[in-house]
């Protein structure tokens, strides 16, 4: 296909929209003009509506790429403008297009300084994120991947909290350092295959040492993004300093880039190395689930607590992805592998909604009291009963209650990990207790109890704007929890083919 198609529209419309908003928006002086944010929201909603055909028109029977757009970009290096989606990337794109309008509504009246630039940054970021998920050319992917850091960097650096400079630099260095190695690996793969097509990389025969080197290079990039223990410490700082919208996008979409990277690059390009090193990745994932769970328990800052909880939840993603080889070795057959990978994917989507919603909840509180400290709250339910209902719902989803989206992924990953090794399942299942402990203790201290202090007594309940945002998130959480089949169906063909691919040795 030579013409621009739907995916290009989803990439470039928000970027162009962002540029327009920047152009017409108020300058640094900051007198607020309503219509710049209206333009931004209109574009974001339009992008969401345009992304719906991606789901409805998706062929669930095939694993091959759909909505493909392919044309030469820099022919001398055979770099192409090559976009397409499969069952892994499509749900993540929808997640992105759903959440971007939500963060805009959430930031509607709250952002006082440079609102036009704020909304423009999110639009541009949205386009770049869609680009990351849709790119099938490795260099195009890399361009989106790095470019995405810039708006995020600006969002934290300009609209962030007191220690935003430290957090931004830490965030930038961590992720940038990881990506540099990825670039080296991509160039090596290009030299071997004379193509930048990621799908060609998948078919490229590689020796075991080559695979190991490539796997490690990718691993550094993706492990930082997920983030996996022990390269996770940028996340709590970044979350704490980021404005609410930044935290939401960071947790909901940016972290998924790491998990997506494993599926798109590490596992299919270096399946034998992945198999050799799977035990290490599983160990790190389980450390994330258990260790980080305990760390989350003692946090005094709401955002930090949710950030740590994110790391623990993302541990399930990497755990689910890397179970394949121990299941194959243990049972001699493949059932269980697809369940782990599906579980990891569902966990990513679910985590996008749940952690995003929890950060929105913290934002609602922060807008009222300008504090993130748990001890500054208490008995919020007395003055904000509607908010409390939402908060309890999202907390329960975070604790993996069946009927909410948080359960689905964890359930599948625990079931699959049992087939690999009972102790993986035992350690992963500790989240049932530890995850519930830190979440419910947070709820107990913030939401329940007698009114904590005079400032809490003066808090007003959700306004209709906040209600709308949380209600949409709640609908997503409940829908996926009660009926995950529509989400799982779109990835089944992709997952099944993927399992075949990664369990076939390249040696």
């Amino acid at each position: 296909m030579a013409s621009f198609g739907l995916l290009s529209l989803l990439v470039w419309l928000p970027i162009l929209g962002g540029i327009v908003v920047l152009a017409v928006g108020s300058g640094a002086g900051g007198e607020s003009r309503r219509w710049d944010r209206w333009i931004a929201l209109t574009v974001a909603v339009a992008v969401f509506l345009l992304s719906i055909p991606l789901y409805t028109g998706f062929d669930t029977t095939t694993w091959s790429m759909q909505f493909v757009e392919r044309m030469p970009w820099i022919p001398s290096f055979s770099i192409e403008y090559y976009l397409g989606v499969d069952g892994f990337s499509m749900p993540l794109i929808i997640l992105t297009t759903v959440l971007t309008p939500l963060v805009m509504i959430a930031g509607w009246d709250v952002i006082k300084a440079r609102p036009a630039q704020y909304f423009a940054a999110f639009l541009i970021l949205e386009g770049l994120m869609v680009g990351v998920f849709a790119a099938l050319d490795a260099l195009l992917f890399y361009v989106f991947w790095e470019a995405m850091l810039i708006p995020m960097f600006i969002i934290i650096g300009v609209w962030g909290g007191e220690r935003r400079v430290y957090a931004t630099i830490k965030f930038f260095l961590y992720t940038f350092l990881g990506s540099v190695f990825m670039l080296v690996a991509l160039i090596y793969l290009y030299l071997q295959s004379a193509s930048y097509s990621i799908l060609d990389f998948h078919q490229l025969p590689l020796s075991h040492p080559e695979q190991i080197a490539i796997f490690i290079a990718f691993f550094l990039a993706f492990a930082v993004k997920v983030p996996m223990w022990p390269v996770h410490t940028w996340l709590p700082d970044a979350h704490v300093e980021a404005p609410t919208g930044g935290s939401v996008i960071l947790a909901a979409v940016l972290l998924k880039m790491g998990g997506y990277g494993f599926l798109r690059f590490s596992l299919p390009i270096a399946p034998d190395a992945s198999g050799s090193l799977a035990a290490v990745v599983i160990a790190l994932s389980l450390v994330a689930v258990v260790y980080i769970g305990f760390v989350a328990l003692v946090q005094e800052d709401m955002k930090k607590l949710i950030a740590y909880s994110s790391i623990a939840h993302m541990g399930f993603v990497t755990l689910g992805f890397f179970l394949a080889w121990s299941i194959q070795a243990g049972t001699g057959n493949l059932p269980g592998i697809a369940m782990g990978i599906t579980g990891g994917m569902v966990q990513m989507i679910s985590h996008g909604f749940v952690s995003g919603a929890l950060f929105l909840c913290v934002g609602v509180l922060y807008d009222r009291l300008h504090s993130r400290r748990i001890s500054d709250y208490g008995g919020v339910v007395n003055t904000m009963p509607v908010f409390a209902a939402f908060m309890v719902l999202f907390a329960m989803a975070n604790a993996g209650l069946p009927g909410t989206s948080g359960f689905v992924g964890e359930f599948l990953v625990i079931l699959a990990s049992f087939q690999a090794n009972i102790w993986y399942a035992v350690l992963a299942a500790t989240t049932l207790v530890v995850g519930a402990a830190y979440t419910l203790w947070l709820v107990k201290r913030v939401v329940f109890g007698p009114v904590g202090n005079d400032r809490v007594a003066g808090m007003s309940d959700l306004n209709s704007r906040e209600f709308l945002v949380l209600a949409i998130a709640a609908a997503g959480v409940l829908l996926i929890g009660v009926w995950p089949a529509p989400l799982v169906e779109v990835m089944t063909a992709t997952v099944d083919h993927f399992v075949q691919h990664i369990t076939t040795s390249k040696l």
Binding site: P230, T233, F294, V295, V298, V392, P402, F418, A485
Partner: protein, 650 residues
Amino acid sequence: MALHLAIVLAPLAAAIIAGLFGRWIGRSGAHCVTIAAVGASFLMSVIVLLGQLEPGALPQNETVYTWLVTDGVRMEIGFLVDRLTALMMCVVTFVSLMVHVYTIGYMHEDPGYQRFFSYISLFTFAMLMLVMANNFLQLFFGWEAVGLVSYLLIGFWYTRPTAIFANMKAFLVNRVGDFGFLLGIALLLASSGSLDYATVFAKAPQIAQQTMEIAPGTTWSVMTLACILLFVGAMGKSAQMPLHVWLPDSMEGPTPISALIHAATMVTAGVFMVARMSPLFEYSETALSVVLVVGATTALLTGFIGVVQHDIKRVVAYSTLSQLGYMTAALGASAYAAGIFHLMTHAFFKALLFLAAGSVIVALHHEQDIRRMGGLRKHLPVTYWTSLVGSLALIGFPGFAGFFSKDALIEAVELAGRAGASYASFCLIAGVFVTALYSFRMFFLVFHGKERLDEDARHHLHESPLVITVPLVLLAIPSLVIGWPTIGATLFAGYFDAAIFVMPGNDVLARLGSDFHGAGGFLLHGLTGLPVLLSVAGVAAAWYLYLYRPAVPEAIATRVAVLHRLLVNKYYFDDFNEKVLARGARLTGGALWRFGDVAVIDGALVNGSARLVAWAAAIVRLSQSGYLYHYAFAMIIGLALLVYWTLGGV
């Protein structure tokens, strides 16, 4: 199918209406819609039960929708309706209906009226999903959903620090059980490839042949491991030691839910689950022995604690723990039907006792300490007589509902030949005396003797309104008579044949049934047995100690102070959990965070490398001298090297 769906969805719809639109439909709107829905559910459940009682009625196994399909495993939402399910549906909806009506009176001053009705209807939905499940996924959904509603209801009065502590504790302790439960489900899926009851049960003989190595050198039977893991879940939900600690604290919730959730229905979910899983448990002698010993231990030890409690609701709560132990022990003896039979009779008389306790509490304007009660017989006649019925049923007084179920259960355990059976039957028989002692201690202290009320309570003293007394009477009737018509059918006539599987060699009820000649004969036989003697002795002891010579208990307490302290401190389980486990978890978290994240990763590695870079940059900065000829010189050298590499290297 449509009928089953309606039974489940009616309470859910009512819960949503009362919960989301409570402000618009008002108080009476909320209770009308929920009572209508639960009432309809009850009537439809009766229809289902009658349908199942027809000769030749088959269990109905049906799928509602597919939750998801992955890896060839189809996870569904569906119903399995057989006689076991139908009985549970009737018990759940009937008690729920009574509690709904009662709540109108009990909560009429409460600002959270609509919210309360929404929660209890939601609970009814969740409990029905649990008992009607035809697969492990839905079972787990119902299992956790009732836990959620229990959490919300224990913390209903959310401004009370004790209530919001208790609800978190309840949820977390239940989660410890669910941890085992989920692993058990995972093991069954791994060994059978399905989450459907029917498929898993059909493969039970093959699963029983499998073994697995959980650590090098230790081989376990898969079935034993799976059953024990499932039972850990039951221990959480049905509050068996040592996971019983949450139930007494759950009394922080309003009394109607103590009756509905923490006595009659939710806490019996574990008992129901084990009975439902009888096709699995029957293949593991070891697991059944574990069930038997845990149940019997709980039955006796928690009964002792009931003797030293002063809070009226807590006495009833400890009695619930003890009775749950009885049911569990019956399961462990392969007398599943006896466990379920006791579950049913217990649901009636324990709901009655809680609601009666609630009636006393309302009458005394929220006084719960039995030391400040006494002599209420003449002021609260309906409550008095219904309490008497409930207490007699609880202690297994001949002819009352509890007599039939408990006596059958104890005899079944005596006949069970498996490891731990003699220990268990000792615990259960001794427990009969303890049950009678704590029950009538409370009964005498509340209704007889001197009035020890304070002024405020005396001022408010009045018999409760009809919405409270009518449910009491309606629950007293089955507590009194339900045993007569049902014992023969449920235990000995094969009522549960299609639902509960018992190995021929394990079938103690069949052996018991060979001597069974009707309820009257069973009664006469029971009159000569040790349990009846012990229960009468318990009542007599209670009369002597708490009415005739009230100074004696004090003296005994000081004489055996160590023992008394042990009981008052509830065997120090709470202290251990709070001071060792909870504190340990916080200390671990703090240590991992401060040492691991802050000191090592961030301090040494991340900021350390940043410092290293800064140091290196300071050196490199020396080369940036600002003199043009330095740069020019460096460029020339660089260019020369580049030329050498590109040309000379070829």
